[in-house]
């Protein structure tokens, strides 16, 4: 990348705009403050890799630092023209355009970049659907079984001569194919529901974060400090965890992971692992008692229960959270309780009942269709996320802890409770008599 002699000045200007100290930026990119000072005064040339690191830390494009905003804009306008030549943009006047309307030119650049990202995402999604071996294998199984059943059923019901021996044989084949169909359909539903394929390439920052959290089972021993962190040590520990992950490739995903881990560390500081696990052994699945003991909020306690390893009873806890619009934010799955891979979840989840009744904890036994029909205990609560204000409406978030019901340990009240029939998401839910259905299920289509 060509660097102009004013690259250092642009780095300094950008740093000051962001309000960063020279020492902090230098530390972030792994150089001394003195060396950064020389760079910023254009007395040292910046290598490409260092420029990349500085641009990342300064949340800008390396080209903007190396060539100046205008040169970067001109490059982006040229790129946008190549993407859509039929628009016949006046490329020979792009310098004039960028100079006179830098804001509009920046918008074109940002949109061009966004289009590129979206195209990559579409390509990746298309590639996943076309080439995902698990999906292809399940669909092939389903179609093969349906073909055998349809042909055989037509023979048996077609009215032609079929002697007893062949009838018996065909009935046996149909029974076998029916079982195979059932198993293949279940596999397909599980794939669509849980998306547990480890080969799936994450698409977008949210999936990168989900892959990162899933790979660590939401538990980060390196962030379970025995006592309070020394100055800066917490951020370094978080940065090390992020740097170790191969799943977090985009800056956005790394930022999201940093936010998640900051909250994780705050929870860990307020409820140290050893003390918390000891208290859990006493209070088991009573988040309210734990919240009182540690003087923490219910969501904090729920996160701690779900993210730390199970206590001696071995029951794994899942956790789902959503924002005030019902969009799922945290998704830690638990065996037997399917979470949607994409889109909205089942409105009958206690999570959404809690969302409608802020500050009122809700406990319910639920059951999803298909599979082993396991019952799960859900404990949900909705809290105000921001500080109360006279100037704006409150922002709410809801959390739901999920675990499998244990008849032996949970007592009669829960064991004998009539489970609420819930789904994962409408697309893969077979219930036909559901008042909350948003869209048709693919399980009964045709």
């Amino acid at each position: 990348m060509p660097h102009s002699r004013l690259t250092g000045s642009r780095i300094r200007e950008r740093r000051l705009v962001l309000g960063l100290k020279q020492a902090a930026l230098a530390k972030d990119v792994g150089i001394s403050a003195a060396y950064l000072n020389l760079i910023e005064h254009n007395r040292r040339r910046v290598g490409d890799s260092l420029l990349e690191a500085l641009a990342k830390a300064l949340k800008t494009d390396p080209a903007v630092l190396a060539e100046g905003a205008e040169a970067a804009l001109l490059g982006a306008l040229s790129e946008a023209d190549k993407r859509l030549p039929q628009a016949q943009a006046e490329l020979d006047r792009s310098e004039d355009f960028a100079g006179r309307f830098p804001g509009w030119a920046s918008l074109v650049m940002a949109q061009n970049q966004r289009i590129q990202e979206l195209e990559q995402m579409v390509e990746a999604l298309s590639d996943r659907l076309t080439h995902d071996p698990e999906l292809a294998a399940s669909l092939h199984e389903v179609i093969s079984a349906v073909t055998a059943i349809r042909s055989t059923a037509a023979i048996l019901s077609g009215g032609g001569e079929v002697d007893q021996e062949w009838q018996d044989r065909f009935l046996r084949n149909m029974r076998d194919e029916g079982m195979r169909l059932s198993s293949a359909a279940q596999g397909l539903v599980e794939f669509l529901d849980a998306g547990s394929s480890e080969e799936v390439v994450p698409i977008g920052p949210s999936e990168e974060l989900a892959t990162f959290l899933g790979a660590n089972e939401h538990f980060f021993p390196d962030l379970e400090a025995p006592s309070a962190w020394k100055a800066g040590a917490r951020d370094q520990a978080i940065a090390a965890v992020i740097a170790d992950s191969s799943a977090l490739t985009s800056r956005e995903a790394q930022d999201m992971a940093r936010q998640f881990l900051l909250q994780y560390v705050r929870d860990a500081e307020a409820m140290p692992m050893q003390a918390f696990q000891t208290a859990r052994t006493a209070h088991r699945w009573d988040p309210a008692a734990l919240a009182r003991e540690f003087r923490q909020s219910l969501p904090s306690v729920m996160r701690r229960i779900a993210f730390l390893p199970p206590i001696s009873d071995g029951t794994v806890a899942g956790l789902i959270s959503c924002d005030g619009a019902g969009a799922l934010v945290v998704r830690k799955a638990v065996p037997g309780f399917a979470l949607p891979r994409f889109g909205a979840a089942c409105p009958y989840w206690p999570l959404f009942q809690a969302l409608a009744q802020p500050e009122r904890p809700i406990r319910a036994v639920v059951r999803q269709p298909g599979g082993a029909r396991r019952r799960h205990v859900c404990q949900a609560v909705c809290v105000q996320q921001d500080a109360p204000s006279f100037d704006r409406p409150p922002v709410y978030e809801a959390y739901m802890l999920i675990r499998e019901l244990d008849d032996a340990l949970d007592g009669d009240a829960l064991s004998h409770a009539t489970p609420i029939e819930v789904g994962s998401t409408c697309r893969v839910c077979p219930r036909t008599d559901c008042a909350a259905r948003r869209e048709a299920t693919i399980l009964s289509a045709g």
């Binding site: 092939h140 349906v146 073909t147 042909s151 077609g158």
Partner: protein
Amino acid sequence: MTKQVLVIEDEPNIAEAISFILSRDGWSVSTHASGTTAVQAVRDAKPDVLILDVMLPGKSGYDILQDLRSADDTRALPVLMLTARGQKTDRDLAERLGVNRFMTKPFSNSEMLTNLRELVGG
């Protein structure tokens, strides 16, 4: 004269259903389940018409069709192809390779019979 049909299909219950339907219709039917040895099976059986599945172990139906169309003794053999993928691209590929009929699974028994009769001029 009895017409001979070779069914290359690795799903045993589908192959059995096809065999029964065709036998009852008066065809002489033989089956083969491997993609790898399918071309040799065609040469051995010398059928009047071939039913060819696409997804076969060892070698795909498309590759088998290509081999058949590039050899003098099998170039003109009528082929009815069966596939679980009914997309236009799959059909186009089969047509480019010289397929005579293309049916997607699940198929209707009567439609399959009609296609086969037309292919052998019956």
